[in-house]
Symmetry: C2
């Protein structure tokens, strides 16, 4: 019996929406010009960039002049940290961030430290929430920049960005937020959030890989990370990836229009999955915040066993899930996010992220609930840690 | 009468080959996983990356472990300079490059200078050739890196890379070459060229935008430019743009297999266009090297008039050409390449690059030759500089 494959790993990336793909298609073989060119082939694709910029801006309540396209969320985050810290070095060389950021924030900050900058990481509580007052406590006269993510990519916890921006504004400190797991998934309005820059990306919202954006508030200076031509108003050199950006724009437009409908649907699936797992399997723990979480996130620790083994057995059943961030999965390390939330290393290792999306169905949830209990049971029986 | 549009701007970017697009297609809506994921969706796309890496490596005579995918040629060049200079800072802080490099080399080097590095630019002669002995003369005990492009993106001149690498090897200096206008267009073998790193890109060889690569010779250290996850063996963080990379790989494979045939065809068109222009229009000058040039390059200075005006009138006739690099065209500045080759600012301003590709036809060459003389004639009659 051939089984339909089930993709419950939408936090790592998503299937491209049919409408997005149709939007991209003309830009490979028909409208293939370089947007910097001064002829009709250039004009055609400049228009596409312009439209996508409007769509991306609209999704987060920005103006299109505040949107800079990049190649991926990692580049957006690197660009923000690098570019803001260097443009505002006169304000100080201390950066505050959190211990649950994505590696595209954490690892550049390690590099900053090697270069002599000071970095303070605020912790997260057991729900993966950063306390804005912890940010305030870390502020020194030398603090130039705060970087706190909007929604956590692993446990889905939504942070109190507005409260943090109140604090950064009081103290004349720049505030960047990584919105890769938020924009297009939950409502985002950068002016209400009060951030100075904001990263968001295509591949988590049914857009193609290869496109992302950085919002930089009007009036904020930023040094380019990629240097060369004058693309993106001189802030990001390199020929724009027109088809991917056109697709990203379309994906932003669709996400904006259909967010409510999608989220009702997806959170319904999520609640079914959480309830099913809790009912059918003992010694499990839902990670992340019980209420303030992204709609598709089901992050569960299964005591006594290894997440990797669960993943392999799920995969054997045709079910794709994740154990933490896909950016680290090949390293087979415990998630720094879970550890900093206070999970024990064995609980952290025993965690699975099911991330649900708009293409998932209740039937798929039921299939997972049909096979998961026996997978957990078999693994626990093999586990030296487990006593019934 | 509706005219078929003619694209003679293949140096800026190319139409995607039908076979390339077919190769890409499955990776949007079917094989859409994240290559870092530990499940079948991840496996499928990891295989695509692996295949593309082999194809890209094969095109330039490298091993696939020496290929790192990036988002564009600019990123590859930035990565090479940034990563090599910082990894080998102990060898010195002096960099030698040339005055005719692409802006994705020139502008990062300006940034290096601001940070206290020393940069020496060797000149090019009237044909756009860099003399390897000029490189040797600039070497000091502090020289860590030389960066000289393989083929010039504007005038098409092919540089004497092997002779330069002999010099860098003698002096234990790293050698990067920007091959964006060479790999896939002329035969490239990095081991014969003797380079330590080499940039090449998809969008000039009938592959999609959004993919490029940096070859880094086995054993050479390089610091990552983008930091985050452990993609690309930890040397380039960020989810790989799988469809674009799959397409790039296919484009590399096609370029390798069909290069001889294409180049015979394209250089035939080129020679027709050069001869036609020389026969029909007075006071023109072919820029670049008469023999050592890329097969599709027709770079011409038309005395007494402005390249921009020619471009506009050609565009009105449905013909797309360029005035220098598309990365600078919107800035409407004289090309730094032409000026450093000794062209007067007025000759530089009066230059047009027709870059021919495999989808162009003799009929298109004839159409250009039919309209160009009267365009030049009309513009010259309006020019205060021109006396018949």
């Amino acid at each position: 019996m051939s089984k339909e494959k089930i993709f419950f790993d939408n936090a790592s990336t998503t299937r491209v929406d049919d409408r997005v793909f149709e939007e991209m298609k003309p830009y490979f073989k028909k409208k293939y010009g370089n947007p910097s060119s001064l002829h009709d082939f250039g004009d055609m694709v400049r228009k596409a960039l312009d439209k996508a910029r409007e769509q991306a801006a609209s999704l987060i309540g920005a103006n299109k002049e505040e949107i800079y396209f990049t190649s991926c969320g990692t580049e957006s985050n690197n660009f923000a940290l690098w570019g803001l810290a260097r443009a505002y070095k006169d304000r100080g060389t201390h950066i505050i961030s959190s211990s649950i950021e994505h590696l595209s924030i954490i690892n550049p900050l390690k590099e900053f430290e090697k270069e002599g900058w000071k970095v303070s990481l605020v912790p997260a509580d057991e729900y993966g929430s950063v306390n804005p007052e912890d940010v305030r406590k870390k502020i020194t006269r030398d603090t130039a920049l705060v970087s706190i993510m909007h929604a956590n990519n692993e446990v889905g916890t939504i942070q109190r960005i507005k409260e943090i921006s109140n604090i950064t504004k009081e103290n004349n400190i720049l505030f960047h937020s990584d919105g890769a797991a938020a924009a297009g998934i939950i409502p985002v309005d950068v002016s209400k959030l009060g951030v100075d820059s904001y990263s968001f990306t295509s591949q988590q919202i049914y857009g193609p890989k290869g496109a992302a954006a950085l919002y930089v508030k009007k009036g904020i200076r930023i040094k380019p990370l990629l240097l060369g031509g004058i693309q993106e108003s001189g802030r990001r050199a390199g020929t724009e990836n027109v088809p991917a950006i056109a697709g990203f724009g379309k994906a932003c437009g669709i996400a904006e229009n259909e967010m409510d409908k999608n989220n009702k649907y997806i959170s319904g699936l999520r609640d079914n999955l959480i309830k099913g797992i809790s009912d059918k399997i003992k010694n499990v723990k839902l990670n992340g915040h019980p209420a303030k979480r992204t709609p598709g996130n089901v992050h569960i620790s299964f005591e006594f066993i290894e997440g990797e083994s669960i993943l392999l057995m799920l995969n054997f059943e045709g079910i794709a899930a994740a154990s933490g961030s896909s950016c680290t999965s090949q390293a087979l390390k415990s998630s720094h996010v879970l550890l900093s939330m206070g999970l024990s290393p064995t609980m952290a290792q025993g965690s699975i992220l099911f991330s649900l999306g708009k293409y998932n169905t209740l039937k798929e949830v039921d299939r997972v609930l049909a096979v998961l209990p026996s997978i957990i049971d078999r693994l626990r029986k093999m586990s030296p840690l487990y006593k019934e």
